[in-house]
Amino acid sequence: MNISVPHDKRANKLKSTRIAGKLVNDYWQMVWRAKEEGKLICWYEGSAINPFLEAADICWVHGEAYSAMLAARHQEVKAQQAAEERGYMKELCSYARTHLGCAVSNQRTRNDTDTGIAFGPEDDDLSAKLPPPDMIISAYAYCSTGQQWDEMTSRVFGKKIPIFNVSLPWIWGAKKDAGYLRGQEWEETSRYVERQLYDMVKFIEERTGKPYPWDRLRAMMADIRRASELRLEAMELCTNTPAPASFFDWVVSIAPINNLPVDGVVQYFETVLAEVKARVAAGEGAVPTEKYRLFFDGIMNWNKVGWLAEKFARYDANVVAGRYTHMAFWQEPSLINPQDPVLGMAQNYLICPNNHASPILIDLIMGLCEKFKVDGMVIHASRTCRAFTNPQFLIADAAHKRLGLQTSMFEGDVTDESFYKDELLNSRVEAMFEAIDSRRLLV
């Protein structure tokens, strides 16, 4: 049973993030035209190595981003069906399954066209529009699935596509000097990844046949560093009550910082920051009535971004921060030296929101919960993303014991809508809100 919630309460989304929609569209149009324009195309997963590629005039396709885009547009099913037809099972990472489905469709179309026995894909089938790669780079932190996904992609294309693997070790943090961004393990691992990135650049040079344009990369990383600073400044302003933006606004802003062309990213976050500042000055919040402030643990449910934003707004709940948005995506700009950016890039790749073992990870999350003054934590147990679900029971336990926070877990997935259970979410978050209310009465 669900408590009655008024449906006239709408999320007050940032207006400036609408620009992201256009930027995303422009970017994917560019990708879909890339073959016709004679560009080399690189498929990659995981870490944001796209500046390395963009600087070298290589068209970059982030697998998760393509799957997320399909899911956000509710066009993921054809790709997932193509994957399942080949034998990829439903319990596999749905990012990978969707993206591999695109690869399978691509190969099938090519082979069918060769034999002349089948029709090509429908024009509006985005899963079939993804152009095939000329190279693959795998640079996945924490999750073993990433490297296997890339390997299987290579095999779908008959192992004819050159592939380069960057290995990003997990920060286990067991030594006495271990901590966030410090200790022998951190230093050695950073250097190890840095060395591999230089080798990756040689791989890129072999593909392009040109010397690598380091000056362009330096300029781009200067922009990314600035954009990241602006993004973090805007996020920081959400410590205000009411918070001027929500976790869902920051979800919408992932693409600009993570995988869109670098040109324009600073301007985008300047615009966002200006709006956030204006809202703080006006006392305007991201939900009409901010009764509850929540932390969101887990990866995004890309089929449900708007749906969840509206749902929480109806409950007067402002989701003010999250592990996915607030602990990733060039999260440590101060580590980036634009004149010598590779080490700082390696280090940012190593601090994806899963790549530290739980003692460090949980300390960071508890710090965010305190900083953003949250009342509770909503935890998205994404069925096929074990990288995110791994520490969630430990996180919930720490939130409860250390901070006395109420937590609520719901089931869903990154891009497979069939795992999402709306009624469970309703019941559980309503119970959480009741518990928060009861506690407030006692106080």
């Binding site: 990829y88 319990e91 924490y142 490297q147 299987m152 290995s167 990288a387 791994n390 520490p391």
Partner: protein, 386 residues
């Protein structure tokens, strides 16, 4: 001691690994070091004077572990966490591992929180196997694990001791491979569950004790005459970290199949490759790590220049197997990724195969039996029609 007595000792250790470890510790007063599958070299811990044992999935249902890891994880990782939370791992002085399957990392994190008095040591092994730096990085990883071990025990692990352990482990592997060879010819008609006990107990028992028993078992079968083996010859594939339940193996054989080969981790995969016995032992362990993936390719690694599907087809031809049963542990991501490659290769070659997804919790054996019986019948009819 006759062969059945030896197999009985192996079965006892396989069925109660932690009980064996406790008894060993009581007897010797030396530390026990558990490791997660599949690539931590037990030789390192053995050379340090400890009992290295590969931690095994328990047949017990998951209880308190449900509060630490979601039910959509493989049975091995859930069982590991459950055993830790129940206090079953008290016998362990440390846990060491280098593999980084994402589910295993989640389990390791949860276990470290549970076992506050047990050191959990991790140094990630590179899983990209054909990079120019794979050998060097593997050497760094094994050297780091050795240093951690020395720090834990407060004593160096000398090269000479490591060489001795490598030789002993190699001898153990050679003997088990002899059993595999004799199984193909019918000289060692071991049932699949018995073979599993041989390999699984090797992961658990004191290696010298295990090897001495193996010497006797191999000698017994070497003297035996080959026996005719009626039934469809099958290869068993898959099941990485955890052993398939013996009742499944028996059910397959009861359906009229004989298992003539496998690439199970609790099978040929574990003993497929020896460590070089000369030269720097850490470099040798790194070489072994690389060689075992070219010997028996594993979907938990990535290596563009070897193919598991091609290996399986070759193995089946060499074993004169009539088909293959794939045992896939539910939620095992590496296996799920690779399975379509195997399926397509087998279909293209016209080699029959059957996929069975296994679960930690009880499975409907009768339903599986019908599928296996049908599979065996299809192979039989196909052979008759040929």
């Amino acid at each position: 001691m006759d062969s059945q007595q030896i197999l009985g000792i192996f079965a006892a250790a396989a069925n109660d690994p932690l009980g064996y470890a406790r008894a060993w510790k009581d007897r010797t007063g030396r530390p026990v070091i558990g490791s997660f599958p599949m690539n931590f070299p037990g030789e390192l811990a053995h050379a340090a004077g400890t009992l290295p044992m590969i931690l095994q999935e328990s047949p017990d249902p998951i209880t308190v572990g449900h509060g630490l890891l979601f039910p959509f994880y493989c049975g091995y990782t859930r069982s590991m966490v459950d055993q830790a939370a129940r206090g079953d791992f008290d016998v362990l002085d440390a846990i060491m591992f280098g593999d980084h399957c994402v589910q295993l990392l989640g389990a390791a994190d949860a276990i470290r929180v549970q076992l506050t008095q047990t050191r959990v040591i991790f140094f990630q092994l590179i899983s990209s196997m054909c990079d120019p730096w794979t050998q060097g990085r593997s050497e760094e990883s094994f050297a780091a694990l050795r240093a951690e071990l020395e720090d834990l025990l407060g004593a160096p692990v000398p090269d000479a001791a490591l060489h001795d352990s490598i030789r002993l482990f190699n001898r153990n592997r050679v003997l088990i491979r002899k059993l595999y060879d004799m199984r193909k010819t019918g000289k060692a008609p071991l049932r699949a569950a018995e073979m599993q006990h041989v390999v699984k107990s090797s992961m658990i028992m004191d290696k010298a004790e295990h090897t001495a028993l193996l010497e006797q078992l191999v000698a017994f079968h070497e003297q035996a005459a080959p026996q005719a083996q009626p039934g469809m010859r099958l290869h068993l594939s898959g099941h990485f970290c955890q052993a398939p339940k013996p009742e499944i193996l028996s059910m397959i054989e009861d359906c009229g199949a004989i298992i003539v080969g496998d690439d199970l981790y609790h099978g040929f995969r574990y003993i497929s490759t020896d460590v070089p016995e000369i030269g720097d032992p850490i470099a040798g362990l790194a070489r072994w790590y690389l060689d075992r993936n070219t010997g028996v390719p594993c979907p938990t690694r990535v290596q563009n220049n070897v193919d598991w599907d091609a290996y399986l087809l070759d193995a089946i031809a060499e074993e004169r197997a009539d088909g293959m049963i794939v045992l896939m542990a539910k939620f095992c991501e590496p296996h799920m990724y690779y399975y379509p490659e195997v399926k397509e290769a087998f279909e293209a070659r016209g080699v029959p195969h059957l996929l069975i997804e296994t679960e930690h919790e009880s499975m409907a054996l009768e339903g599986l039996k019908t599928r296996v019986e049908t599979f065996v019948e299809i192979i039989r009819r196909r052979a008759a029609a040929a």
